[in-house]
Point group: C2
């Protein structure tokens, strides 16, 4: 994987915007201190995801499950939210054929369908339970704490549906939990009822957990090569140890985005892969970047209100949606393209007689060539308009490069935490909303949080 | 539909952030001039979408097509990009059951499946052509100009596939174009080959066209009530004529977002419906808001570099992804929630013996109640953290309220063009990228645009 970063620099833009080239040297000089802080914190038990490059035992366990019990099911239903859902969606999107669930058994090579419920929307739940046959489903309930409100509410609904269709004993055999090794409601239930339960390493946070059993189990069940995923991650981890910033792509990427934000006002960080297969990867990145870096307090406890706003886009599609704004709006963005050099299967654009003159140029090219030309053109056009952009280039998209790409972004996020001076592994800002939800749901002990409806005790401003 | 806007005002936030209440009066005083400019420009032929509240003839034509020829197909394949795809995706997502294409014929009440190809990604195209039976497909090619590069490239591929399976004459009967009434390559081809062609009113721009045959034909084919869609739009148009800003929700919404951007630095405008069914509606809004308001020049031709950055989110899901940033990051956002008062089908959370104590509070509630409690709690928590937010409240989600919501956002965008002082109907910033693409594809006349590859003529900055 390569990072092309020239168009982050003002000598390759319009001369006015972008980072001055000498910033590269300054960042490189500061980098040893950044790397040292990461090392120190790793020694203190942070940055647990650095341990995910070697997982022989975990993979063996998942393989055993997937090749044994896992074979019995037509459908895998994942119940999870946030970090328990976004990574699995990204893997399915990237590494299985499009519209996986619409394919016949042959089209799926007899691997199961996969449905991910990541909300408590009753419409989605009711429709899924009508669509899926409880006799052929494996329900994978994923929650690191084991007590996530949304996921446990889903579990109660789905469990009653399984019990009713199969009886309680058989129902337990259609369940697998992925949760903390020792603590929390899901672990407790698994022990009490003899439900299969996989372990999320306690030192790996939810949004960094796709390469743990959180993502690896569903991935293995639908036939994704999880050894290759982890091997790709290991490659990214190796390069992330390089002391020279300019030869360490994940660290350099984090440094450039941080510098663009804090010195150029580029506080919106767009990720724009030129591939439909990376659409859900963008959504996964949005959580990782937003939740890790969006922080009120810095590491010393001082107010900082940090955090770039990540934005997902897909090329060429969003050239017809968001690129107008990227080209002409405020100079507050960096666009990162993701390019796949070899698209794999390509499709020729056929010749056709009597075609209107203005379309003739398309003929004889392939869709892959058009897509690549559009990626080049959009990057070049942004540069001419003085807009910073960078390109991540993958040789091809498969399990290994996907594992590499995922770990690359996790590493960049870990480095970015140091550049920004914030803790990339907590999420204190969501606690208040949880407490107010408990209050609204009547959970004992939370009554004093007070009413939450917009009108409560105040004149209604309604139009 | 109601707009709750109290939490845009500093007296309902933390006293520090948000708009001062007297801004409401100032905006209301300025509004007659804004409304007058819209009226004047309508008289000059702009704002064509105001005419979409009454379309008796158009609806009759589409109904005739859908109830006649349309019945013969199992699958509708839409080829389009940007405004030719996003609205149709939003309609399908909102108004048909989840996972529509995974349902059996009975589950779909014998309406066809619907696939929308909105990119030139060869993987997506190849997979679609393997999955879909050419003998049972209607291909709807949508391009306002009739010459959109991506869409026409798709057409050439799909046309060859149809020709090969069915022969050229039969192939023509599996095609319907939606394009300009008189001009462009698609219109030309339709006349030459006798292909059915529907009309996009010339005065309605692509991103404002979902309630024209662009969205109405595919919607009608899958059984959506298009009369109700248009009736809902008509209701929104009526209220948008009110001269009092505080009684004109679309105008007030545009005024509040503009004021929040330009006087409070809230340049990121998040749309966060609490419904899986409105996920694609958010993506549709992103194009509408980004492409309409992101402009280098104002109406007088002076550089302005305007444009808020729209961001799509879904509740409760994104509470576990983006809300940490919204709560604790920079004070640069407004979050607009969309709430559906009556979720329709709701799902009880069943009681269960031996449940861990900490989960007991969930029991006896419904998923709909939990979702509503989370929406209330998130809005209240944002307010306590000094974060501006507003709520659009729909009584229920059906074709009529969806038509209303779509037209509400179009109207708000039209008003916002005046507040920002930009032309909301052009997109000059995408032309350069198109020219560079033509150059890269070897289209005659574009060679002088020059090379576009990142390395061209310069040292490669690659890590």
């Amino acid at each position: 994987m390569k990072l092309h970063y020239g168009r982050m620099l003002n000598d390759k833009l319009d001369g006015q915007h972008g980072l001055p080239r000498h910033r590269l040297q300054e960042l490189a000089q500061r980098f040893p201190a950044v790397a040292a802080e990461v090392d120190t914190r790793r020694g203190q038990g942070e940055y647990g995801f650095y341990g995910l490059g070697r997982q022989t035992e975990v993979i063996r366990g998942i393989r055993r499950f997937a090749d044994g019990v896992g074979q019995a099911y037509d459908h895998v239903l994942v119940l999870g939210i946030g970090g328990s859902a976004l990574g699995t969606k990204a893997l399915l999107n990237a590494l299985r054929p499009p519209a996986w669930n619409e394919l016949s058994d042959e089209g799926r090579e007899f691997f199961p369908r996969l449905t991910i419920l990541e909300n408590v929307d009753p419409t989605s739940m009711a429709a899924a339970l009508r669509r899926i046959d409880p006799r052929r489903v494996l329900v994978n309930v994923i929650s690191k704490s084991g007590g996530t409100a949304e996921t446990l509410a889903q579990y109660l609904v789905v469990r009653a549906w399984l019990d009713q269709a199969l009886g309680p004993d058989a129902a337990a055999r259609h369940l697998a939990f992925t949760t903390d090794p020792a603590k929390g409601p899901l672990r407790e239930l698994s022990q009490k009822e003899g439900i299969a339960a996989l372990e999320i390493p306690p030192e790996v946070g939810g949004r960094f957990s796709v390469l743990t059993p959180v993502g690896l189990l569903p991935a293995a069940l639908v036939g994704i090569d999880i050894e290759a995923l982890v091997a790709g991650a290991a490659t990214a981890l190796e390069t992330a140890g390089r002391p020279d910033l300019l030869r360490n792509p994940a660290a350099l990427y984090s440094a450039l985005l941080w510098a663009a934000d804090t010195s150029q006002g580029a506080r919106v960080h767009v990720l724009m892969p030129y591939s439909d297969r990376l659409r859900d990867f963008s959504a996964w990145f949005v959580q990782l970047w937003a939740e890790s870096l969006g922080k009120r307090l810095d590491r010393r406890g001082q107010p900082i209100y940090a955090g770039p706003t990540p934005l997902g886009a897909v090329g060429a599609t969003d050239q017809h949606s968001q690129v107008q704004l990227f080209m002409e709006g405020p100079f507050d963005k960096v666009v990162t393209f993701v390019r796949i050099s070899d698209p794999g299967e390509d499709v020729r654009i056929p010749h056709r007689p009597d075609l209107p003159e203005e379309l003739a140029y398309l003929q004889g090219h392939s869709l892959g060539e058009l897509l690549a030309a559009e990626a080049d053109a959009t990057s070049a056009a942004l540069a001419r308009m003085g807009r910073m952009n960078a390109t991540l280039e993958l040789p091809r998209l498969d399990a290994e490069t996907m594992g590499h790409l995922i770990m690359f972004m996790q590493l960049a996020t870990g480095f970015a935490g140091v550049w920004y001076g914030v803790d990339p592994f907590d999420q204190p800002g969501v606690e208040l909303g949880k407490r107010l939800t408990f209050a609204a749901m009547g959970r004992p002990g939370y009554q004093r949080e007070g009413p939450v409806a917009p009108e409560a005790g105040q004149p209604a401003d309604v139009a």
